[in-house]
Every structure is written in C-alpha cells, then in structure tokens.
C-alpha cells in the first residue's frame, strides 16, 4: 500500500489501480517516443525533398559572361549605333564626328531603352518621349538627367569597355 511513485495526486491506491497507472505512464512515454521519432523522420524527409527544390530555385551558373567588350575601330561606322549587353546593362555605342561615345542605354527617367535616330543625331526614348543629343544631354522630355556615360579606352585602334 504505497502511493503512486509518479505522484499523480491520487491518494493511496489498490494493487490493480497502481499497475494501471504505471502501465499508463509507460504507454504515454512510449507514445511520446514514437511521436518524436515520426516527427524527426518527417523533418528529415522534408529536408531531403526541400533541399533540392530550394537549390533549384537559386540562380544558375552562367557561362560565357563577357567580361569586357573589344571592338576594332575599323568596325565603327559614322552615325551608326551599336548595342551590347554587359553584366545586365545595355550599352549603346555611337560614332559621330569621328568620335566614339558610349552610354548606358537605359533612359534616366524610368529605365526604358533608348533608340538612336541617326538622321537627327538624337536618342529617343520609346516610353515617354525623352530626347537626348549625341553627348547624352537632355534635349526634351520628362527628365533632366543626362544619359550615363560608360568609360572606354582605345588601345592599338581597338575600343575596349573594361
């Protein structure tokens, strides 16, 4: 006639009642153990599925990303514009008055790509009608910031945008 060792708060119990309590607590600890095991296995399985899927959503390796643009000066034609992509930026190269000039082709207003009007020697933005001259300065439009210049070097009659 002893009280339950787990101290359930009940008073002195009979032999049968004690056994019932003891096996109950054993049952529930077993159940807890299996619940923990199932939870752990579910977590591992979830990780095994989630890892490749989340990896797949990461940015892929890109190959042949041009580090620099090299262009022989002989390829440039008067009044003509050339567009390049360099690290996600569209670069426009024009050759006017025997002078090459390079700009970031994104309009300084809202980032649309400007086109080169070779008859009037101006850049025109298709979105809101901004106009820039061949130096990148604003001629007209909703913006007063000139086109961003892109630096380049000329060595051995080859134009290099590093």
């Amino acid at each position: 006639m002893t009280s339950c060792p787990c101290n359930h708060g009940a008073g002195p119990l009979g032999e049968a009642g004690e056994n019932l309590r003891a096996s109950d607590s054993l049952q529930s600890s077993r159940r807890g153990f299996f619940h923990a095991c199932i939870a752990m296995m579910t977590a591992i399985a979830g990780f095994i599925v989630a890892f490749p899927v989340f990896s797949f959503m990461r940015l892929p390796k890109r190959i042949n990303t041009a580090k620099s643009i090299e262009l022989p000066l002989a390829d440039l034609k008067e009044d003509q514009a050339l567009f390049f992509e360099r690290e996600g930026i569209q670069v426009v190269l024009i050759y006017t008055n025997r002078q090459p000039k390079a700009f970031d082709a994104a309009c300084t207003h809202l980032g649309c790509l400007v086109s080169w009007d070779q008859n009037e020697h101006v850049f025109r933005c298709p979105c809101h009608g901004a106009v820039f001259d061949d130096q990148g300065a604003v001629v007209k439009g909703p913006v007063n910031v000139p086109l961003k210049k892109v630096k380049f070097e000329i060595s051995k009659s080859v134009l290099v945008i590093a």
């Binding site: 490749p52 899927v53 797949f56 990461r58 892929p60 390796k61 190959i63």
Partner: protein, 223 residues
C-alpha cells in the same frame, strides 16, 4: 512542439465549428478502414499516383528552363543538368520516375488481373485504368523526345512509325502525329504541348474518376 499542437487544434476547432471537417478527414483518410486481407501489393496503384505527383512537380521545375525549340532544346537540357543547382537531380528524377511509373502501373495491372478484381462491379475501373495505361505510356513517349538527343530523335522516329500499320489511314496518322513527313521542330512542339498539358489533363480527369469509382464500390476483398 506543444505550441504547434495547440495552434493546430485551435485552428481546427474554428474550422470544425463551421465545416465539421474532422469527421470527413477521419472517415476518408486518418481512420479509413481497409480490408484486413489487403496486402502491401495493394499499394502499387497508390505508388503510381505518388510518382505521377512527383512527375508533375519536377516537370514544373524543369519547365522553368526547358525550351521547346529544336535549336535550343538540347542546350537547355544540358544547361539544366550542368548549370542549374541540383538541376541534374531534378532532371534525373523526372526521367527515371517515368520508368518507375510505368513499372508500377504494370505491377498494379498484373495484381488486378491475377486476382480478377476487374470483374463485376469493377469493369469500369479496369477500362478507366486502361485509359490511364495509354496516357502514361504516351506521356513517357512524348517526354522522351523533348531532350532532342540522338536516342530521343530515333526513338520518336520508330515510335511514330507504329500507326502506319493501321489499314488505309495509317500513313495519314503518321503524318498527323509527326506534323509532317519527318521528325522536326514541329514534332517537338506538338509532343511538348501533349506532354505538358493535354496528356496530364486527361490523366488527372480519368484518375479522379478511377479513384471515385473505387470509393463507391469499395476495395475488393477475396472470397
């Protein structure tokens, strides 16, 4: 852990107060009763469905990079395999999964045929299952062309030759499914559309019918 249980219980109580959902879930899922005699072989159909779900999922992932253009298809698959993180794994799961799915569909059919489960009242289960066998095979066949390799090209060539055995219309059917006299970029586009939309949509529709029929007649039990 206990907070998760508490939150789940609180949410479910609110849902149950409105929709009485727990008895439905218990009856159909967590406390669903199946015949005591049902063996593990009874899982083949369910496993085939599980692989179908995996195929849908990995297929959607591959679709982010795949290009159904004869000029770029091979390059895009190579890009997935070598440049996309874990792309090799997703691509391999999708291609190997197709084989597993066909194997499981055949095991499922073999069990149903051997135990003669297809008899009345389950004749339509067998017929809808046959339609699913055809769509599964067609899914595997159309998917095989998409990487645009030598193997897939000649596989499609040989496979599309088969309907030419049909009397009178055979040659015309071959032209129709090749979208021209030979395997070309048009064939690729046609197979691609079949592979990602038409066949999966038909499969899902027939699967829903297949599963509802089983629910209605109950799982077969031996005499």
């Amino acid at each position: 852990m206990s907070t998760i249980t508490k939150v789940t219980k609180a949410v479910m109580d609110q849902v149950d107060e409105r929709f009485d959902l727990t008895p439905v879930i218990e009856k159909n899922l967590t406390r669903k009763r199946v015949p005591r005699t049902l063996s593990w072989a009874g899982c083949f159909g369910g496993l085939a469905f599980l692989i179908f779900c995996i195929q849908i999922f990995t297929g959607i992932l591959l679709l982010m990079y795949y290009k159904s253009d004869s000029e770029r298809a091979w390059d895009s698959v190579t890009f997935i395999k070598s440049n996309v993180p874990m792309g090799w794994l997703i691509q391999r799961i999708h291609s190997v999964g197709a084989n597993f799915m066909i194997a499981l569909v055949f095991l499922h059919m073999a069990r149903v045929a051997y135990l003669r489960i297809f008899r009345k009242p389950r004749e339509l289960h067998w017929i809808s299952g046959s339609v699913l066998l055809i769509t599964t095979t067609m899914l595997a066949f159309t998917g095989y062309l998409l990487p645009w390799t030598q193997l897939s090209y000649w596989g499609a060539k040989v496979g599309t030759e088969i309907p030419s055995a049909v009397p009178l219309l055979g040659e015309y059917i071959v032209l129709l499914i090749r979208r021209g006299p030979s395997i070309s970029g048009e064939t690729l586009g046609f197979f691609f559309a079949m592979h990602i939309w038409v066949l999966p949509a038909i499969s899902v529709l027939v699967m829903v019918m297949h599963f509802l029929m089983i629910r209605r007649t109950g799982i077969s039990r031996p005499l």
